[in-house]
Amino acid sequence: MMTLKVNGREHQVNAEADTPLLYVLREDIKLNAAKFGCGLGQCGACTVIVDGKAVLSCVTPMVLLEGKQVTTLEGLGTIAEPAPIQRAFMEEQAAQCGYCIAGMMMRAQALLQRNSKPTDEQIRAELEPHLCRCGTHMRILRAVHRAARLMDTADASSPASRSAR
């Protein structure tokens, strides 16, 4: 048994030290926003935030998470009250099939938390580990810029998004 802190809550999970975080999130805690894409850390679909940094959960074993705070997309906002990053992606219609988008949003969120006004170039560089085969890249870029603007205005910062900081 080990304790895993996810989205501000503590979970007692029965997992081996070398079990990837992604499996525990999806199978034990039933948080399904993080996706299994390649299982090799090469597509980015499984990205979550650990202590403020974007991490590929499919290649992150549980042994690395002791005492750390994990944030998944579910921890940013809800359907009723979406976080700025989620609103921005919806408003720009940045998803087609959407499989990669949860991971994209998590890395974009981590970027915006440390750089509130990233340039196009910085966003491209940051999201480079993420693959999207639908081809919504230009919309994703616009959505990240929009999220930066939304986060800048006080009313858009939902309580949930602040808790991830």
Partner: protein, 450 residues
């Protein structure tokens, strides 16, 4: 004053004047007259094309380009034990580049490390190798550079301490270490071998990274290709002291230099990624020649090195797992690619064949584990995720020690924790400034903002 005292004073004066004159002769170099920047169309197109290939073999763009800026406009900080030296602008810009340099001025810079104005250049510019470049090749390089887009980019001030910030000191360095005409064709060897020797010892300046340097920063000729340092990476030994578990052959070297990877040796990364990226674009006969010459440098592997990788792999199967944290991290973070049997470069190398793990210096492994291999924009390329965000220093240290114990038959490293700390710091700088297939992190000035 007595007569004898006058004679002694006279002798001293003569010696002093002679010494000053000699020092002046060693230090002073005349300026070459400026020229009006020649129009690009005055250069022969075939010569420019030849210069383009030569510039790629010389890896010129690697040092003379900084991330996010224009090609050949300089400004890259090069860390040395004496301070930081910034590369110069070698575009044909009239004011800040080499636009007003005549071909003779360019050739003098290549041959003896003196700029057009007559100032000595620091040997971070590897003229100790370029002295071997032929007149004809210098002419082609000049034609290529003078037909690039001029970029206005003033030189950045070097950050050197006294006495290294005094350019006359370089004249003394040259007196001690600069040898002209060190390359001579060897009639007993093939034309291909001689072509390789000419390129390796000259323009390609392989020894600038792969040969260790003495206290004054000169290559130690007695230890040629015994392994050196570059940008906080270890440039592996290429001579008979190589730690590659599988000995190199000319064919393997050719494939690695041409394609950037080889199944027995893994993928070129760090500063070598830029080198193979350049070599992939030059005539294959030149890369083959380099491979043939370097295979001779590595020599016939000692009997005890043959089969070393099989031994390492066998050991891997039976390794004692007394490092539980390292074993768990390896299983989840590494094995999924490095044991999945997919061929290189999209699968990971069998780690029993990794030179990084068998090397006496753990820096390359620390760099690669923390920073990964970034994709090249817009083309297929090998990638590996970096683990800097998911592992703290202690965890990365546990992993490195585990990999060393399990996948090499070398003694354990010491001070891996320090190496990991340094790698975390220096790789951030490297990724920000170095050109090539890498991504800069977000502007560090913005890091602390919410």
């Amino acid at each position: 004053m007595t007569r004898s005292a006058r004679i002694i004073a006279g002798i001293v004066a003569v010696v002093l004047v002679a010494a000053v004159a000699a020092a002046f002769a060693i230090v002073w170099r005349p300026a070459f007259a400026t020229i009006d920047p020649p129009a690009p169309q005055t250069f022969d197109a075939a010569l420019v094309k030849k210069g383009r290939d030569l510039a790629a073999i010389g890896n010129c763009n690697d040092c003379h380009t900084v991330r996010g800026a224009k090609n050949f406009a300089g400004g890259l900080p090069v860390p040395t034990p004496f301070g930081t030296i910034f590369s110069s602008n070698i575009t044909p810009d009239a004011e800040t580049g080499i636009g007003r340099w005549s071909e003779a001025a360019f050739q003098r810079a290549m041959r003896s490390g003196v700029n057009r104005e007559g100032q000595h250049l620091y040997p971070t510019f590897p003229y100790d190798h370029f002295t071997n470049v032929s007149d004809e090749d210098d002419r082609a390089l000049y034609a290529f550079l003078m037909t690039r887009q001029p970029v206005r980019a003033p030189a950045r001030e070097n950050q050197l301490s006294f006495p290294f910030n005094q350019r006359f000191a370089i004249a003394g360095w040259k007196l001690l270490f600069l040898r002209h005409d060190t390359y001579q064709p060897d009639p007993r060897q093939s034309a291909e071998w001689n072509r390789g020797a000419y390129l390796v010892e000259g323009l390609a300046h392989c020894g600038a990274c792969h040969t260790p340097r003495n206290a004054l920063g000169a290559e130690r000729n007695s230890a040629q290709f015994a392994g050196g340092d570059v940008d906080n990476w270890h440039a592996y030994a290429l001579n008979d002291q190589s730690h590659s578990p599988v000995p190199w052959t000319a064919d393997a070297l050719f494939a690695y230099l041409r394609e950037g990877f080889h199944p027995d040796h893994g993928t070129a990364r760090g500063p070598m990624a830029e080198v193979v990226s350049n070599l992939s674009s030059v005539p294959s006969s030149d890369v083959r020649a380099i491979a043939v010459y370097m295979a001779g440098v590595s020599g016939t592997p000692a009997a005890d090195r043959k089969g070393q990788d099989e031994m390492a792999l066998a050991q891997g199967k039976t390794a004692a797992r007394d490092n539980a944290a390292g074993a768990s991290i390896y299983a989840a973070a590494c094995a999924s690619c490095h044991e999945n049997g997919r061929p290189l470069p999209y699968g990971g190398i069998n780690l029993g064949r990794s030179t990084a793990i068998s090397s006496p210096d753990p820096r390359n492994l620390a760099n690669i584990v923390l920073s990964g291999v970034r994709a090249v924009e817009g083309e297929r390329s090998p990638i590996m995720p970096g683990f800097a965000a998911s592992m703290n220093d202690e965890q990365a240290t546990a992993l490195l020690n585990y990999l060393r114990a399990r996948f090499s038959n070398q003694p354990a490293w010491t001070g891996v924790d320090k190496t990991v700390q340094d790698a975390r710091r220096t790789q951030t700088v490297f990724l920000q400034t170095s050109p090539g297939p890498r991504n800069a992190p977000a502007d560090p000035m913005q890091r602390d903002k919410p």
